[in-house]
Subunit: 249 residues, 2 copies
């Protein structure tokens, strides 16, 4: 029997472009250790990486202006969304479901104005959230000799269900899917189609520990040691269902 | 700052039709208390409620036989799936995504052969998982004077992403969606579209604490007291996105 704990890292300052995220995290959480899973809301990663756009610098094109008119949104915001989207999956007034360049399907291609830090700024997803997770893990290992798994997360809506669940968009060192295909269940029978999305469930568990209105972008999960590996693994892009298998594009 | 813990309830026996689930749970977890969230894999609820079908009693019809031929599956199993499905949402060889009578979208309308307890038996979803959750909560309150929130869960696949996440299909006494619409974020700005699917994130967190091959269908979450109410609330059916708003049916 394992107890899992999810504990926010308190006292992180507001993160700005160029900030040393590994240093900030190690100062705020000196007890980080191997086997931990460090979950980070992507916004702190995006901000540290400078993935923030000032809308006053954006000149919307015709498509963004047309979409803005039908969606009742800021055309500059939509210009940024279009620049981040590989494809628009569904569109209707007020809702723009996009596939990002990484392959993730989410509203507005992950471009978000909340918690951006100023009224005219929007935060984008990291260019390569898996690379962000790996770089942060490498920095923690180099500076403090600890290599927790790192999961970069965002809150995504879902088909068919209301509300958003926190979801893994960048992963280093954590099992993505625990595949029980062919293994036996408690009755000794074959489990035919159980493939547990560990990284996404970890993102969700971390989110429960966090209040959206507080500055707690980082949460440490303990008790998942069996899913943490020294190897970084293929990253969250491997969670994207290939188009040929996807019935809902 | 809140730490969330997820701890499996150890030592639950195999559950059979007619078993007293509240009694079994109270014996195995005498320290259950108000403010806890008790998450239960639906199979123990379904078994206690007799929602188990012996395939030897099933005579498949023509549609089930045709589907079985194209899917390479047992026609009796597909007959049960069809009887549980309100609609087939997507179909292709080996994959049958259904809308259940409750409104949930999942593979095989939730009919599952793993952990069923015998080779020819399949387990169905509870007839009304919200009623199951409310009844269990009522029994716990009556017998032991404690009213933890109760969440009945199943592992559902997702559009666009690989793997399955544990999902709330029956809820009593837990926030379904924590809606921050109109509330201010840490910068004092309005958060426009953040509605956190607390019950689903709780189901996911509970699943992380459980090994699929062990008899740990019940997991207790602590630290979510702010989301637990004396009132049972509208239940997980309220999480189903109405057809008029659903872009992926």
């Amino acid at each position: 029997m394992t107890t899992i704990t999810a504990t926010p890292i308190p006292g992180l300052p507001e993160v700005r472009p160029g900030d040393d995220l590994a240093g900030l995290l190690l100062s705020a959480a000196p007890d980080l250790r191997d086997g931990d899973v460090l979950c980070l809301a992507h916004k702190v990663v995006s901000k540290a990486e400078g993935r923030v756009v000032d809308l006053r610098d954006i000149e919307p094109g015709d498509t963004a202006r047309e979409l803005a008119a039908s969606h009742g949104k800021d055309p500059r915001h939509l210009e940024v969304v279009l620049s981040e989207a590989a494809a628009i999956v569904r569109e209707r007034p007020g809702v723009l479901i996009c596939r990002t360049r990484h392959g993730f399907v989410c509203a507005n291609a992950g471009v978000d104005a909340s918690n951006a830090g100023a009224d005219d700024r929007v935060v984008l997803l990291p260019l390569d959230p898996d690379a962000s997770a790996r770089a942060l893990r490498r920095a923690l290992r180099a500076r403090a000799g600890v290599a927790p798994a790192v999961v970069v997360t965002d809150s995504f809506g879902r088909a068919w269900r209301r509300g958003q669940c926190e979801t893994a968009i960048g992963v280093a060192g954590l099992t993505l899917v625990d595949d029980w295909h062919g293994r036996a269940d408690a009755d000794g029978r074959s489990l035919r189609a159980t493939a547990i999305a560990i990284a996404d469930e970890a993102a969700a568990a971390a989110d429960l520990a966090r209040a959206k209105d507080s500055r707690e972008p980082a949460v440490v999960l303990r008790g998942l040691e069996r899913h943490v590996s020294a190897d970084d693994g293929p990253g969250a892009v491997a969670l994207v269902r290939p188009a040929a298998e996807d019935l809902f594009i």
